[in-house]
């Protein structure tokens, strides 16, 4: 037999542009949304508003609105709403990148069929994450529109900046949980993710109370979590109480997380499906 040689590439791989790759999948995701939007209405819109009612209005009625304690908010309602939306962005992102990703890899094997076409792993990840971004934009957007008349926002631009930070924190979670899903063989791993990751973050990242209540060490730990970066940004912009160096750090952390997580997600899908 002839001596074996590794097939040498004659140039860089020629691939679709990322935007073309995503555009080709737009119809698929449109159909997915047409099929699932009814189910997502409850989790996306009704559940968060119940939280606002229970936490912001009913529980908040017992809490004294001291701006010094509540990071600049004059009522607990104003304090909790921007944090809740950011935390909800995380939950939406996690929801869209856990079972749906595993399903497309393992159960319905939609990704396998897509990879038999000119699309590549990075196109699949980009389209899936674009859909997550769309879901974040609609849920956080509706949330913001509904709550704006209640005087939560301290400036005209506050809702826009807060909205952008909610999308950013959502995407920072989406890329990492996506990467986690590509490496997970069985859905049992999600139990660990929800119990040890998402739920503690949801409770202790400053959405419901100022992290300074956790003591020096606790607060320092809480400020290292990605969710706190988003909660803090969302709240500062909403209340028009911005500490700019902090905002800069928060944005930088979330952007770096998102960018690094993107590569981790793509490499995870490649390792899983292109063998």
């Amino acid at each position: 037999m002839a001596a074996t040689k590794i097939s040498t590439t004659t140039g860089p791989a020629r691939r679709l542009s990322l935007s073309d790759g995503v555009r080709r999948q737009a119809d698929y995701w449109r159909v997915v949304y047409q099929r699932t939007w009814r189910a997502s209405v409850v989790s996306s819109f009704v559940a968060p508003l119940l939280y606002v009612l229970a936490m912001g209005v009913l529980l908040g009625g017992f809490i004294e609105g001291d701006p010094k304690v509540l990071e600049g908010a004059t009522s607990y309602f104003d304090f909790v709403v921007p944090g809740l939306i950011a935390a909800h962005a995380m939950q939406t992102a996690v929801g869209e990148t856990t079972y749906p990703v595993m399903g497309m890899i393992k159960w319905q094997r939609i990704y396998d069929s897509m990879l038999a076409t000119p699309l590549e792993c990075r196109d699949l990840v980009a389209a899936h994450l674009s859909f997550v971004l769309f879901r974040l934009a609609t849920t956080c957007g509706v949330y913001t529109l509904v709550l704006a008349p209640f005087g939560v926002y301290g400036s005209w631009w506050g809702p826009f900046a807060a909205f952008a930070s909610q999308l950013l924190v959502g995407m920072a979670f989406a890329v990492w949980v996506y990467g986690f899903s590509t490496r997970l063989r069985s859905e049992e791993g999600y139990g660990v993710l929800f119990r040890l990751g998402v739920f503690p973050l949801f409770l202790f990242s400053g959405a419901f109370f100022p992290v300074s209540n956790l003591g020096d060490v606790g607060a320092a730990i809480a400020r290292c979590t990605p969710l706190w970066q988003g909660v803090n940004l969302s709240r500062m912009f909403a209340l028009d109480h911005v500490i700019w160096w902090q905002a800069g750090v928060n944005v930088a952390v979330l952007v770096v997380l998102t960018v690094v997580g993107w590569f981790w997600a793509v490499s995870g899908l490649e390792k899983r499906l292109v063998s």
């Binding site: 040689k5 097939s7 590439t9 020629r14 691939r15 679709l16 999948q25 038999a116 000119p118 292109v274």
Partner: protein, 307 residues
Amino acid sequence: MISARGLRKSFGDFEAVKGIDVEVRRGEAFGFLGPNGAGKSSTMRMIAAVSPVSGGELRIFGMDPAVDGPAIRGRLGVCPQEDTLDTELNVRDNLYIYGRYFGLPKTVVSERADELMEFVQLTEKAKSKVDDLSGGMKRRLTIARSLINRPELLLLDEPTTGLDPQARHVLWDRLFRLKQQGVTLVITTHYMDEAEQLCDRLVVMDKGVIVAEGSPLDLIRQHSTREVAELRFGVAEEGASHEALAEKVADLGRVEALPDRLLVYSDDGDAVIAAVHERGLRPVATLVRRSTLEDVFLRLTGRTLID
């Protein structure tokens, strides 16, 4: 269309394909035969420009899949071993959405989806969910889907496994029509009748290497005899085992002793039967048949069960 030289595929320490040479020409129907684990599917995945080549050289349409993967896949149709249809979508949407992945304009995909439903006789099921289709219908839909980009080369990995005879014949008919239209077909199968029906040329793979190559007829000529005489003996025929009986007829041709019968490979089966009777042996049943690809396959890859 396809040219492979010393093509290899390994997964860690396991070498699934151990250096094969394959040449597939435009317009022909080419088959990969082999038992489970022979390396057929790994080879198919490399040809589909999905699985990276571990060693050797592979060119599809003259292009290197490592460089031009998307361009190659744009001209290929792939019908995978397991249906990967979107079970939540209806029949027509499965075709439409898939066509969009190839960057085809909406109007073009719509037209082709209707044409292809006609071609695989699923027009009446256009609005049915995939879940409600029979196995044969799903398979036809998968084939229709693989044709949405009008491929020059269609890869079919065990296209009829699990189908009833009617459904298999409908599929064969469709594949034959595609071949007449000039589509190059590459098929893996372990149904020998399918290979004889569909393939102009084929290779038999075993344990990652090619053990034989040629047209079905060539392979039968090279690796078997024209006819096979099958001899069944009663349970206690002269108190002898099949092996002992086999020795008595060993000079009449190549003999294979199976638990229930002896096979004697010869160009003249009737002469074998006559000789057997002359020797005083009394088989309870005899049969003379033509050699088939299955005889070749079993000779080359053995009768041991492979899991």
